[in-house]
């Protein structure tokens, strides 16, 4: 299943709802394009909702890290929401839980920006 991405306002924060696989090729490219588009529109408080993302490979992990550093470099923050078990295990295995703030409910994630 290819990746799909939509975004919506949640107060001062943009929530990007992702579904599918973040993998080498179109999936990683779509995530990159989405985050770059938001930064171009001066949005630098971003939550990636990964509730419907059931698979990420090393390219997808790299793209998440790239999105994180890109947003940080613009003075903002990027946080993760609703990790599936496979994605959570991967984030733990790669030690990226020390990098990303991860939330299990959207209200808390949004509130963390204030």
């Amino acid at each position: 299943m290819s990746l799909r991405a939509t975004h919506r306002d949640a107060g001062p924060v943009i929530v990007v709802d992702l579904s599918g696989r973040i993998i080498l090729g179109e999936g990683s490219a779509l995530l990159r394009k989405t985050v770059r588009g938001l930064l171009d529109e001066q949005h630098n408080k971003i939550i990636l909702n990964l509730g419907d993302v059931d698979y990420i490979d090393s390219s997808g992990i790299g793209e998440l890290v790239s999105a994180y550093t890109g947003v940080k470099n613009r003075g903002g923050d990027l946080k993760l929401l609703n990790l599936t078990k496979k994605v959570r295990d991967l984030i733990q295995l790669t030690k990226l839980y020390t990098v990303f703030e991860v939330f299990t409910d959207e209200a808390s994630a949004v509130a963390s920006f204030q």
Binding site: V65, T94, L96
Partner: protein, 161 residues
């Protein structure tokens, strides 16, 4: 392509689509061999990472080069070979992606994931140059309905890369 119940070989083009093709083929073999969902996920991911490594690092994304994939089912394990046509590399020179200074790297986690997800993993010099990744997963025990994936290396990979 050659197929028999115990051995499969295919030569793949150096293109992104080969990654998905290799994953799908190996997943079919793994399912037929009796691996459960968790192990199939780990095998599929490892094949992806092996072919991504060959595509990107080994063959430098050059379309005239090929990726050679072979899968063997022995009495004990599923063995996967991924051979590229690059210059080869040594595991000792692969940076540890868990090191503090590498955590924000946007690449370099593929080898680490293969080591974590498979029971055996090594990189050998290819017969015609390049690097040959050889990795294996033990077959599920008879009557094991599920994961067969609780090996110690899954929880604690020996070395990051």
């Amino acid at each position: 392509m050659t197929i028999d119940p115990k051995h499969l070989e295919i030569t793949l083009e150096t293109q992104v689509e080969s990654v998905n093709l290799a994953e799908e083929m190996c997943l079919k073999v793994a399912e037929a061999a009796g691996f459960g969902e968790d192990d199939c996920y780990k095998i599929g991911m490892s094949v992806r990472e092996g072919v991504i490594n060959a595509f990107h690092y080994g063959n430098q994304e050059r379309p005239e080069k090929k990726i050679h994939l072979a899968v063997d089912i022995t009495t004990e394990k599923m063995v996967i070979h991924v051979l590229d046509e690059g210059k080869g590399f040594s595991l000792a020179n692969v940076p540890d992606p868990l090191a503090e200074e590498n955590l924000l790297s946007t690449s370099g986690r593929g080898i680490f994931l293969m080591r974590a997800f498979m029971d055996e993993f090594d990189v050998l010099p290819g017969r015609t140059g390049g690097a040959e990744i050889v990795m294996a997963k033990k077959l599920p025990l008879p009557g094991d309905p599920g994961t067969n994936g609780q090996n110690s290396q899954s929880a604690s990979p020996q070395q990051g890369a």
